[in-house]
């Protein structure tokens, strides 16, 4: 489904990503963990071209992007089409109702009619447990609710892969749980997911595969329980013992 090879990202003289290789199967749920500054968010943002990669090849479905060549707007749109994205800070549109937030892109991008889009939006909002909030503005919703709305908004475009950038980091633990539950259901439903997270429990029990990143590289990866319980490298052991023993 997704193929990444030799992904490099430089910010000026600073190399943030130093040769990432990754392949993701359809239906696979991947957790990316690692100390802050290890490049996991940047990696995710490169994956949907919010950051322009400095070098490497990216393939999603049958669209390939070569970072060494200029990317046209059409290529970028085609590449992003199957990708849904959820941000740490939700980024809902505060001036629109919850319903409009979910419907807007369906109308503009998928050319659905307003009626059709709204109907799908209401179904999705029901699915994340927020059907009653459809006609309110996001500012009237808690952080956990806003993040679930953001998930519904991304799902409305029928993505094949969902990317999550620390979806619970801005939330109280209790509110984070609502979001994790929705994500868990999504994973159980067969959605391909890449999740950058600090939630070790999610990484261990929900994801199929865990990637540990440090210093712009993937230092360890494998089946979740195995990697989490029995890391091979010294760096990964240090990181895991630091986060587990808190």
């Amino acid at each position: 489904m997704i193929e990444v090879s030799g992904l490099v990202k430089d910010f000026g003289a600073h190399r943030v990503l130093d040769g990432i290789d990754l392949s993701v199967q359809r239906g696979e749920v991947i957790a990316m963990i690692g100390p802050s500054g290890s490049g996991k968010s940047t990696c995710l943002r490169c994956l949907n071209l919010l950051e322009a990669p400095s070098a490497g090849l990216l393939r999603v479905g049958d669209v390939t992007i070569d970072a060494s060549r200029p990317v046209t707007r059409r290529q970028r749109l085609g590449f992003r089409r199957p990708l849904g994205m959820v941000f740490q800070s939700f980024n809902l549109f505060p001036h629109m109702t919850v319903l409009r937030n979910v419907s807007l892109a369906q109308e503009r991008v998928l050319k659905r009619s307003r009626r059709e889009a709204d109907e799908i939006s209401r179904q999705l909002l029901d699915r994340v447990g927020l059907g009653a909030k459809a006609d309110q503005h996001p500012s009237r919703c808690s952080g956990g609710q806003q993040q679930r709305i953001a998930i519904a908004r991304a799902l409305a475009l029928d993505p094949e892969v969902m990317l999550f950038d620390e979806p619970t980091s801005a939330l109280d633990p209790e509110l984070g749980l609502e979001v994790l539950n929705v994500m868990q259901e999504l994973a159980a439903g067969g959605m391909t997911m890449i999740v950058v997270t600090h939630e070790m429990h999610f990484a261990e029990s929900v994801s199929d595969r865990v990637l540990i990143m440090a210093d712009g590289r993937i230092i360890e990866q494998g089946p979740s329980a195995e990697v989490m319980r029995n890391p091979q490298t010294e760096r990964a052991q240090r990181f895991l013992s630091a986060v587990m023993n808190r």
Binding site: N48, L50, R73, L77, R80, R81, L83, G84, M85, F87, S89, N91, L92, F93, P94, H95, L104, A105, R108, V109, R153, A154, L157
Partner: protein
């Protein structure tokens, strides 16, 4: 005292005709200038230097050269380049230019106040740049500018008094005209000042309230 009131009473109708013209010139300049300011705000951020540089020159001249000089340039200068405008058209052209230049900065600041994550969210949803601007950035950025734009509008009404140097019969010209016939400058300019203040003071107070209310919400 009755002499003064009588004199004011006599001059008021003429001054009011002038003031109506002041308001019209200001209104027209703002109605044309603010949309132009929005366009400049966008072209200033454009990736193409063919849009960016001419916009920058327009803005820097509009803000940097004195508005009085702009006005005289249009009215007295352009005819020698083959473009002769009436005093009304000159005033509107110069004030519109000035309005566009200043409001482009106000609007740019307003649009930049919209959090970067908002346009990123639009981008990952597949909206194109024009759609992001129309549905995401403008609806959030423009309301932020409103108090500043209103404050600027008050200044433009005051600046319209400069049109007297191109003989536009607005409030200041009328006052000057009556003054040169009666030589009673003091009461005339005092009344002129009162007329401007009668509009500008309440407007300033309203804008101040609006600003405070808006800053509470942010």
């Amino acid at each position: 005292m009755t002499g003064l009131l009588d004199f004011w009473n006599q001059s008021l109708p003429q001054l009011l005709t002038g003031f109506t013209l002041s308001l019209q010139v200001t209104g027209l300049s703002l109605a044309l200038g603010i949309p132009l300011g929005l366009v400049l705000a966008l072209t200033l951020q454009s990736a193409s230097r063919w849009l960016r540089w001419p916009s920058l020159v327009m803005v820097e001249i509009g803000r940097g050269a004195s508005i009085l000089v702009l006005l005289q340039f249009v009215y007295f200068g352009l005819p020698s380049a083959g473009l002769t405008l009436s005093s009304f058209a000159s005033a509107v052209a110069a004030f519109c230019w000035c309005t566009a230049a200043y409001t482009s900065e106000i609007i740019r600041a307003g649009l930049q106040s919209v959090h970067h994550g908002q346009s990123e969210a639009g981008e990952v949803l597949g909206l194109d740049p024009a759609e992001i601007l129309r549905f995401v950035i403008l609806p959030q950025g423009l309301p932020v500018c409103v108090p500043t734009l209103l404050g600027f509008s008050i200044l433009m009404l005051q600046a319209s008094s400069l049109a007297f140097v191109v003989a536009l019969p607005e409030l200041m010209s009328k006052a000057q005209l009556i003054g040169s016939n009666t030589f009673r400058y003091m009461p005339l300019f005092a009344l002129t000042a009162i007329l401007y203040a009668a509009v500008c003071i309440p407007a300033t107070i309203v804008v101040g309230r609006l600003e405070r209310r808006l800053s509470r919400h942010i």
